[in-house]
Amino acid sequence: MSDVYLLLPQICLLSSALIILLYNTLFPKSTRLIILTGIATIGSICSVIVSIFFQTSGDVLSSGPVYLFNSQLIIDGSSLLFIILISSITAIVSIASYDHLVNSQNQASYYSLLLLAATGMSFMASANSLVIAFIAMETASLPSYALVTYLKKNEGSVEAGIKYFLIGALSSAIFIYGSSLVYGATGHLEFGEISHSIANMSSVSGLLLLGLLMIIGGLAFKTASVPFHFWAPDVYEGAVSPISAFISSASKAAGFILAFRILIEAFPLDLLISLGIDWSILIQIIAIATMTLGNFAAVLQKSVKRMLAYSSIGHAGYVLIGLASLTGNQDVLIIGASMMHLIVYGFMNTGAFLFVALAEHWGVGSTFDDYRGLATKAPMASVAMTIFMFSLAGLPVGGGFLTKYVLFMAAVGAGFWWLAAIGAINSALSLYFYSRVVKSLWVDQPLKSLKLSSSKPFGLYIAIFIAASITILSLPFFAPIADYAMSAASILLS
């Protein structure tokens, strides 16, 4: 048990959530929001720093992955990589939330819920058994439901929260039921043990197959993939924008690392194919449906926030190309490419939602038309939004360019050139709606009534600046992202 210190990243997040609650109990009348923001930010940054230290210092993971608590939890390159990602997004969202919370209530519960959700997500990244996966998913989901309904008096927000909760509860039930079926078929919950017992099978029982299907369904909810995607647009639109950023980036990343781990480690494709089951075909269908639906629906939107919600579904589709192409011979490259895309996507997507938050803060509204000529009033923020949009579209202003093309490249290399081609068509289509935002900002004439509120939302400025810097710098300094993602992928696949 001497390795428990490896949970320090999660402990950082959890303890700062508790400190915030404690602070609120001791000083219930304190109006110093900056202290709460500070604790939340420092807590998540601590988690990032500790994870980076574990990742880079040679001796921590020198002898391969570390298993904790009877192999219920795993600490390896990929879990640390995703904890870094989740915690960084949490830090950015914490900073950005400051301006939103200044004049509202329940500040302490907002931050503690945010950190608790982040804790759950980082446990999703280290889960090594179906039951821990379920608990971690619930730890991440329950605070998220509450965060989405944070604007209690806003009908859209409440409706979004209810929808999120109902679909979330249903998909959790599906996931846990699937897990119990898998347990029934294999007698194990731990990923490695499940794959061992599959290796000893001579044929696959219907029980196991049904369990696998249900688990994939539960994961599809977390990653907002078709067919469990339809909560996403309403939730992202109804929630306050920093929370939309948090759920669409961090929660999605956590869902994907869990999906990678469960599907690759518990249900290894080569074993199952020899038994006549090929789940990658199902993932191919989901990937195509998810990216096509996300991008086509995004074209039709009038609201930028809703467009971003659909675009985030589209990006989930790109990431799924990784799992869908596993039958080729480029497994490490393609899973690595999916991870790279999740990392860069996390920052550019967060930044885009935070710009929406900024526009709301200015009182501008959130449709394409509302953004007309905004660059004349706020050039720097518009530059940042342009960077996010073009990077999401896969143009070379940020790392999103490289990750998207590396994904397509790996898909071609794995023999799935048609998946890459469908991705390419979607990517070209996405250029249309992303550039619409840019056109509104820079090209269109401003409305005469365009006026920005005079307050200076410094938290949002800082958060957007950080997200934009990371998005840009991840293009020239892509090497560390690529290296860590590739080594995480190779550990996962070994």
Partner: protein, 516 residues
């Protein structure tokens, strides 16, 4: 000064890029002059590159030496290393020079017409210059592809903010059309890279070229090496063909050209179109040279269709800018014909035509811009006999038009002559017949240009609508004169750059003679 030679290329790109960023921060009032001065830095560095060029041969063929080479590791992606590998050879240096020469002139030609958001306009021109240079100097596929796609962003803004009335439509059409082409090209290229399997460990164009030329290509999935080559060749051909543009992938071009502000048209026709032919030359006609030769007749027919159809389209236009735009399609057809010929004169002439057309189309677009600034119309029907009132402009336009038609002692003559000699001497089936047909293109070009000159410049003076026929300012005429001087010097002494081009083309052509 060894280190200068090593970082010369990086300095050129960075000076344009940082200059562009700096110009953004300037006020609109004085950004025009400062951006012009800043654009002289890449020009000087480019000329330094030219004077101290020490490369020889073709960069992608064994035995070639790249000048000012840098090769440092950047990213490792599983089986492939991506490197910052840049340099110039006899094919890329002339194109770099074209870029650094045209940009200051385009900036100066914008002084009169661009009246709003100047600092952004000039900043974008400098940034597109940086990206364009990058396209011609990169030898690593991913580095090259970054620059290739980066070009789209400034051009999108240049068209959509400062363009004509249908600018938003034209900009998004240009954006999506060329992006789809890039994606197709990317997938095709990756299929080629993975087909090479373990014989390469980077996406370096040079090592890929060596591997391909020593027949290392394996099969990919169900495709055997030969089929794979054909499939990739077609994907790349269409991908680059959109950019060139080759008929029938040309429909974005008239929209983009007509709506773009004149200085952006200069860059668009002058340099952007050459990205397509440069890509064809480096990828289709070098990496996959054997397929290019097998398909030579077919490509030559496509070229002739572009030549004749583009010229006929130009003949039917009433808008001066559209005439120049469509005639670009025709001129790029000659480039394709020269490439298809695959002789030293053919490929060399094609490269020379890229430069020559860049200068000539830049000159014509700028002159049309000067006319428009004074007369506020570009319609040939609205204009008549303006040579009396605008003698200098008229003289320059006529000179440029004659250059376009291929009048001796101008660069257009040398370029087309080389191409015809090359294509006539080539031994692909029906070479002589196809080349003869392509020559009719010249007749049509002469037809529409002479017709335009007659209608617009001569006859009874008449201009419909408001106009302001003061003598154009010095800074309007200066870029035209400079371009004309360069065009004439290249016409008199093509060897200034043709020697360099020939050296780079020779190994390419002899490569195939060895194979076949």
């Amino acid at each position: 000064m060894e280190w200068v030679a090593i970082v010369l290329i990086e300095l050129t790109i960075l000076s344009a890029f940082i200059g562009g960023l700096f110009v953004f921060s300037l006020s609109n009032k004085n950004s025009h002059k400062i951006s012009f001065y800043l654009s002289l830095i890449p020009l000087l560095l480019g000329l330094t590159m030219w004077s101290s060029f020490d490369g020889y041969g073709n960069a992608l063929i064994e035995g070639g030496k790249i000048a000012f080479e840098t090769n440092i590791p950047w990213v490792t992606l599983g089986p492939y290393a991506l490197n910052w590998h840049v340099g110039v050879d006899g094919i890329s240096l002339p194109l770099v020079l074209l870029t650094v020469i045209l940009t200051p002139l385009a900036i100066m030609s914008a002084w009169t017409p661009i009246k709003e958001r100047q600092s952004q306009f000039y900043g974008l021109l400098l940034i597109i210059e940086a990206a364009l240079i990058g396209v011609f100097i990169a030898f690593d596929f991913f580095v090259w592809f970054i620059f290739w796609e980066a070009v789209l962003i400034p051009m999108y803004f240049l068209i959509s903010i400062w363009g004509g009335s249908r600018r938003k439509y034209a900009a998004i059409k240009f954006f999506i059309y060329t992006n789809v082409a890039s994606l197709l090209m990317f997938i095709g290229f990756m299929a080629l890279a993975f087909g090479l399997g373990d014989s390469i460990n980077s996406l370096d164009l040079i090592s890929m070229s060596h591997a391909l030329h020593s027949n290392q290509l394996g099969s990919l999935g169900p495709l055997d090496p030969d089929t794979l080559k054909y499939v990739v060749f077609i994907a790349l051909f269409i991908g680059f063909g959109v950019k060139v543009p080759i008929v029938p992938f040309h429909t974005w071009l008239p929209d983009a050209h007509v709506e773009a502000p004149t200085p952006a048209s200069v860059i668009l026709a002058g340099v952007l179109l050459k990205m397509g032919t440069y890509g064809l030359l480096r990828f289709n006609f070098t990496l996959l040279a054997d397929i290019a030769q097998k398909l030579a007749s077919l490509i030559a027919v496509v070229a002739v269709v572009s030549i004749i159809y583009g010229a006929l389209l130009a003949l039917a236009q009433k808008d001066l800018k559209r005439i120049v735009a469509y005639s670009s399609i025709s001129s790029m057809g000659y480039v394709l014909l020269g490439l298809a010929a695959f002789t030293v004169y053919g490929v060399g002439g094609a490269t020379f035509q890229m430069i020559s057309h860049g200068l000539l189309s830049g000159l014509l677009f700028m002159t049309v811009g000067v006319i428009y600034n004074s007369t506020h119309t570009r319609m040939t029907d609205d204009l008549s006999g303006i040579a009396d009132k605008m003698p200098v402009t008229a003289a320059i336009f006529i000179a440029g038009a004659f250059g376009y038609m291929g009048l001796p002692l101008m660069s257009g003559f040398a370029a087309e002559l080389f191409i015809f000699i090359g294509a006539f001497g080539s031994d692909f089936p029906f070479a002589k017949l196809i080349t003869s047909i392509s020559m009719f293109g010249i007749v049509i070009v002469a037809g529409y240009l002479l017709l335009t000159i007659q209608n617009v410049f001569f006859g009874k003076f008449e201009i419909k609508g408001k106009n302001n026929l003061d003598l154009p300012k010095l800074h309007d005429i200066f870029p035209l004169v400079i371009l004309l001087l360069i065009i004439i010097s290249l016409g008199i002494a093509p060897s200034i750059i043709f020697e360099m081009i020939q050296q780079a083309v020779q190994p390419l052509v002899s490569l195939l003679e060895g194979v076949l």
